[in-house]
C-alpha cells in the first residue's frame, strides 16, 4: 500500500492527473457527474424503446380496455411491421418527408449563401439588418405555420398581392390543392430556417483569411473562381455540418406543417411525424404506430451513423480549426489553382 501511494502521482503526472484531494478518485467523480444525465437518457431512450418494441408486436389500442402492459393479449408478431412495410401510406410519408427535406434544405442553403455573400462586406446598417434577417428563426415553429396559414388563404394576402401584380384575379389554392400543398409546407420551412444557414455561412465567410482573398483578387481571380477554388473548399466542413443539421431537423418536421395543413388535404402533406401523430391520436392504433415508429427509428439510425461523425468531430475543434484558418494547409495550392483557372479563361 505504501509503495502504491507514492507511485501513483508519479506515474500519472504526464497524463495531467492530480493527486486526489477530494477523497474520491477522478473516475468516480466523473461517473457521479454524468449519472443524472445517464438516468435521464435511459429514461428517454431505453425505456421508450423497450415499450415500443413490445407494443409494436401487438395490436393493442387504449380503447381495448386493457392496460398497456397487458398488451400481450393482442400479440400478433410482425403483422404490424408487415402492414407498415406493405402500406403505401408509410412509404408515401417517408418519400414526402425526404422530398421536403431535400428541396427545403437546398433552397435554404442557396438563399442563405447568397445572403451571406451580400452581407460579407461592411456597409451601413449591416448589424441591424443581420438581426432583422434572424427574426424568422426566433418565431415559434407552430406560430410560423399559423402565419403562413393566414397568408396562403385563397382570398389571403398572397393571392391578393399576385392579383394586384398580374392584373387579373389570381385564385391559387395553396393549401387545398394536393399537389401544391407540399410546396407551401416547404415555403414555411425555408422562410423560418434560411436565417440559420445565413448566420452559419456568414460566420464562416467572415473567418476566411483576408490576405489570401485579397491576393486572389489582386491577381485577377474572378468572383466565380474565388468562390469555386477558395471559398467553397475552405468552408466545406461548415457547409457539410449546416446541411446535415438542417437535414436532421427538417426530417422531423411537424409543428409548422401541422398548423398549416394538418397533414392534408388527404395525406398530401402528411410527413413522417404527422403520419405517426394521426395513427396514434386520431386512429388510436398504438400498436401499429409503435411498429412504424420502430421502422423509422431504424432508418434514421442507419442514416445517422454517417451524419453524426462530422458533427462530433467539429464539436472537438475550435472554430478556427474547423475553417482551417489556423493550420497552414490552405496556403498555396488552392490559390494557385484559382489563378491558373483564371488564366485559362
Amino acid at each position: 500500500m505504501e509503495a502504491r501511494t507514492t507511485e501513483v502521482p508519479v506515474r500519472q503526472a504526464p497524463q495531467r492527473r492530480l493527486p486526489d484531494l477530494g477523497g474520491r478518485s477522478e473516475s468516480v467523480v466523473a461517473r457521479l457527474l454524468i449519472a443524472p444525465g445517464q438516468i435521464l437518457m435511459f429514461f428517454l431512450v431505453a425505456f421508450p424503446a423497450a415499450v415500443a418494441i413490445y407494443i409494436g408486436f401487438t395490436e393493442w389500442t387504449p380503447t381495448s380496455g386493457k392496460d398497456w402492459y397487458q398488451a400481450y393479449h393482442y400479440w400478433h408478431w410482425f403483422s404490424g411491421y408487415w402492414e407498415a412495410l406493405s402500406s403505401g401510406s408509410v412509404w408515401h410519408s417517408i418519400w414526402l418527408t425526404a422530398l421536403i427535406t431535400i428541396v427545403a434544405v437546398g433552397v435554404e442553403f442557396a438563399l442563405g449563401f447568397l445572403l451571406a455573400l451580400l452581407f460579407l462586406k461592411e456597409f451601413r446598417g449591416r448589424g441591424l439588418l443581420t438581426l432583422f434577417f434572424l427574426l424568422p428563426m426566433m418565431v415559434v415553429p407552430a406560430v410560423s405555420g399559423f402565419i403562413f396559414f393566414m397568408l396562403f388563404q385563397v382570398d389571403g394576402p398572397v393571392n391578393q398581392g399576385l392579383t394586384a401584380i398580374v392584373g387579373h384575379n389570381v385564385v391559387i389554392h395553396w393549401l387545398d390543392d394536393p399537389s401544391l400543398a407540399k410546396w407551401s409546407v416547404m415555403t414555411v420551412d425555408i422562410w423560418q430556417w434560411t436565417p440559420l444557414m445565413f448566420l452559419i455561412l456568414l460566420s464562416g465567410l467572415v473567418a476566411l483569411p483576408e490576405d489570401q482573398m485579397n491576393q486572389a483578387r489582386i491577381l485577377g481571380a474572378s468572383f466565380w473562381h474565388q468562390l469555386r477554388y477558395l471559398i467553397v473548399p475552405m468552408l466545406k466542413p461548415i457547409i457539410v455540418i449546416a446541411l446535415i443539421i438542417r437535414g436532421i431537423e427538417t426530417f422531423k418536421l411537424f409543428d409548422s406543417a401541422f398548423l398549416l395543413t394538418g397533414g392534408g388535404p388527404g395525406d398530401a402533406t402528411s410527413t413522417v411525424s404527422v403520419y405517426l401523430y394521426r395513427q396514434v391520436i386520431i386512429n388510436a392504433r398504438w400498436g401499429y404506430a409503435s411498429a412504424v415508429a420502430i421502422i423509422i427509428l431504424i432508418l434514421v439510425s442507419a442514416a445517422g451513423a454517417f451524419a453524426v461523425r462530422p458533427i462530433e468531430q467539429a464539436q472537438e475543434e475550435t472554430f478556427e480549426e474547423l475553417v482551417g484558418t489556423e493550420g497552414a494547409h490552405v496556403d498555396g495550392p488552392r490559390l494557385e489553382e484559382a489563378i491558373e483557372a483564371e488564366a485559362t479563361v
Binding site: A30, L117, F123, N214, D255, L259
Partner: protein, 307 residues
C-alpha cells in the same frame, strides 16, 4: 434609401474593406437584392403584427385586402387574454382565455429549463473535463436528436398515463427537461472546454475538493455561457408544440396548442385574435434570441460551430 450613397463610398474604398466578393455587383444591386429578400422575409411578420392591431372587419374581408390597419385597435389583445370579459363568447366550448395557456407555457418552459440545466451542467462538466462516458455518451445524445420526437413520445404517453403525469404541468416539465438536456450538454461542454484546465487544477492544489473547484473556480468562468444556455433552452421549450399537443389536454394546455385549438375550432377564423396570441408567443424568443445572438449558431448546431 438614404444609405445607398454611403454604400457606394464603401464599395469604392476597395482595399480598406473586407474581400470584395461580389465585386462585380454594384452597391445599388446589392441593396436591391437585400431589399427584395428582406421584404419577402419580413412580410409574414409584418402581416402578423399588423393583423394583431386590425379590427374584425379588416381581418380577411372577401375580395379585399387591408395592407395596413385603417383603424388601430388593441381589442384583439384584451379579448384573447380575457381582460375585457369577451372571451366567453369567443370560442364555443372553450371558455378559457389565452392567459392560462400562456401561464402554463411560462411555467413548463421555465422549470423544464431549470431541470435541464441542473442535470446538464454536471454532465457537460463531466464530459468536458474528465471525458466521462468516453465517446459513447456524446454519440448517444447526438443520435437521440435525430429521432422524430413523436416516435419517442408514443411509448412515453403510455407511461405518462400510467403514472398520472398525463395532462399535468409536472409531466410536461420532466419531458422538457429531458428533451433539452442534450442542448445544455453540448452548449455548456463547449464553454467548459474553453476554460483552461489549470484553473480547476490550481483550485484543487489550493485545497479545494473537486466539487469546490467546480463551484468556486470553474462555474464563475462560464457565467455568460450559462446565461446564454439558459435563455437558449428556454426558447426551445417555449417553442415546443408537439410534446404539449400529445401530452396535454385541458389542465396543462400550453399557448401554441391553444393557438392550434383556436385555428381548428368551429367558430371560424378569428385572425386578429390569433395574431395577437401569435405576437405574444413570438415576443420572448425574439427578445432572448437577439440577446444571445452570438450563441445561437453554437446552440442550434449542437456546439459544432462555435460562433
Amino acid at each position: 434609401m438614404a444609405t445607398a450613397p454611403v454604400a457606394v463610398d464603401a464599395g469604392r474604398a476597395g482595399s480598406a474593406d473586407r474581400l470584395s466578393l461580389l465585386g462585380r455587383l454594384r452597391p445599388g444591386g446589392r441593396w436591391l437584392a437585400i431589399l427584395l429578400i428582406g421584404g419577402t422575409f419580413g412580410f409574414p411578420l409584418y402581416w402578423t403584427v399588423t393583423m394583431a392591431f386590425k379590427p374584425e372587419d379588416e381581418w380577411n374581408p372577401p375580395g379585399k385586402v387591408f395592407w395596413w390597419p385603417h383603424t388601430w385597435t388593441v381589442s384583439n389583445f384584451t379579448d384573447i387574454l380575457g381582460i375585457r370579459g369577451a372571451t366567453s363568447v369567443f370560442f364555443t366550448g372553450r371558455s378559457q382565455s389565452a392567459l392560462t395557456p400562456v401561464e402554463h407555457s411560462l411555467i413548463a418552459a421555465g422549470f423544464g429549463t431549470l431541470l435541464a440545466l441542473i442535470v446538464g451542467i454536471f454532465a457537460a462538466y463531466g464530459i468536458a473535463r474528465f471525458r466521462a462516458g468516453g465517446r459513447v455518451l456524446p454519440f448517444q445524445i447526438l443520435q437521440l436528436r435525430m429521432f422524430p420526437p413523436i416516435a419517442i413520445i408514443i411509448p412515453l404517453l403510455f407511461m405518462w398515463v400510467y403514472l398520472s403525469l398525463y395532462d399535468t404541468l409536472a409531466g410536461l416539465v420532466i419531458l422538457y427537461g429531458a428533451v433539452t438536456f442534450p442542448f445544455v450538454v453540448w452548449l455548456l461542454r463547449s464553454f467548459f472546454q474553453e476554460v483552461p484546465r489549470e484553473i480547476s487544477e490550481a483550485a484543487i492544489v489550493d485545497g479545494c475538493t473537486h466539487w469546490g473547484a467546480f463551484f468556486k473556480a470553474v462555474l464563475p468562468q462560464v457565467r455568460g455561457g450559462l446565461a446564454a444556455t439558459a435563455l437558449f433552452v428556454f426558447i426551445l421549450n417555449w417553442s415546443d408544440f408537439l410534446i404539449a399537443l400529445v401530452m396535454t389536454q385541458d389542465h396543462a394546455q400550453t399557448a401554441p396548442v391553444y393557438l392550434q385549438a383556436l385555428q381548428s375550432g368551429a367558430s371560424g377564423q378569428e385572425y386578429g385574435k390569433q395574431a395577437a396570441l401569435a405576437m405574444i408567443l413570438i415576443m420572448p424568443p425574439a427578445i432572448f434570441g437577439l440577446a444571445i445572438q452570438r450563441y445561437l449558431v453554437r446552440g442550434l448546431t449542437f456546439g459544432a460551430i462555435k460562433r
